[in-house]
Amino acid sequence: MKSLKFSILGLTLAFFTVQANAQKFFSRTGKVKFETDSKMEKIEAKSNTASVVIDLGTGDMEVAMLVKSFNFDKALMQEHFNENYIESTKFPKSSFKGKIINIKDVNLAKDGPVEVQYEGQLTLHGVTKPLEDKATLYVGGGKINAYAKFKIPLEDYEITIPALVKDNIGKKAHIEVKAELEEYKKAQ
């Protein structure tokens, strides 16, 4: 019995050592989509230069982007979004800093999807609010494809919509984040 206890301890130690050595995964080309329901016209913006970092050892994660890099199909909409709603000159960055709670379920040696639970702080328009939801990490060939989708009430982030168009723009924004993460290597 004693030897069993020791071997469990040994295994646990070995496990933690492996976890501590686990590399960080990152992407400089994370894709973020911002969408709101609208009766008149679909409001949709995309960026493909978000940075995404996940630490497989600790579960720490961070997504950061520059709000000005959101592209709209309509140039006028992009102008209004930047100047009137999101005020991107005053608040150029948006980020999510948090933790994946069940990071231990992610096993690099086992290809396939893993549903993860995350929690943290989302900053947008200079306002920081807690956010928690589920995401999916697809492990494959030593890479991780991350996918997350969540809704945020625009009101919470002090984004005000002019009364004139209030009825045409949804009160919630749907945010979608996709990234193909590679192991972080210091030398290039």
């Binding site: 080309t29 493909n48 309509k74």
Partner: protein, 136 residues
């Protein structure tokens, strides 16, 4: 009376046409826009890592030309992103090719010396330049 009605109708048509054109206004043509600064990827990264605020005042939301060696060229979902090496071991300049411009080249070899014109949008852990077009 009839004349006034016709005049109003013409004014309404002109107004409508202007509104329609404004609504469908095209994106700024990067290839035809003059860049306000020409800088190497190393110098651009250095200005940002030294003082982000003053670098933003100089470059943010402006059309600039940045040149450097390709660290990586990636196509994801039909969009090309090229990262340029800098003297910093980790930092890069991330250049995202413009989806609204015609791109002659969408794949670049690592180590190639290239020059892109695009809109500098600021700094994360890398400098981000979006809507890039290749400069010959």
């Amino acid at each position: 009376m009839k004349r006034i009605l016709i005049a109003i109708l013409i004014l309404a048509l002109i107004g409508g046409a202007i509104a329609y054109r404004m609504w469908n206004k095209p994106h700024e043509n990067i290839a035809e826009t003059k860049s306000v600064a020409t800088v190497t990827s190393s110098d651009l990264f250095k200005s940002y890592s030294a003082d982000e605020k003053s670098a933003n005042e100089k470059y943010m939301a402006k059309v600039i030309t940045v040149s450097g060696k390709v660290a990586e060229s990636k196509v994801e979902e039909g969009k090309t992103v090229v990262t340029l090496q800098t003297e910093d071991p980790i930092g890069t300049v991330v250049c995202s090719l413009d989806p609204y411009s015609k791109q002659e080249k969408t794949s670049f070899a690592v180590g190639d010396q290239v020059s892109f014109k695009g809109i500098c949008n600021g700094f994360l852990s890398d400098v981000i330049v979006d809507r890039c077009v290749l400069v010959k």
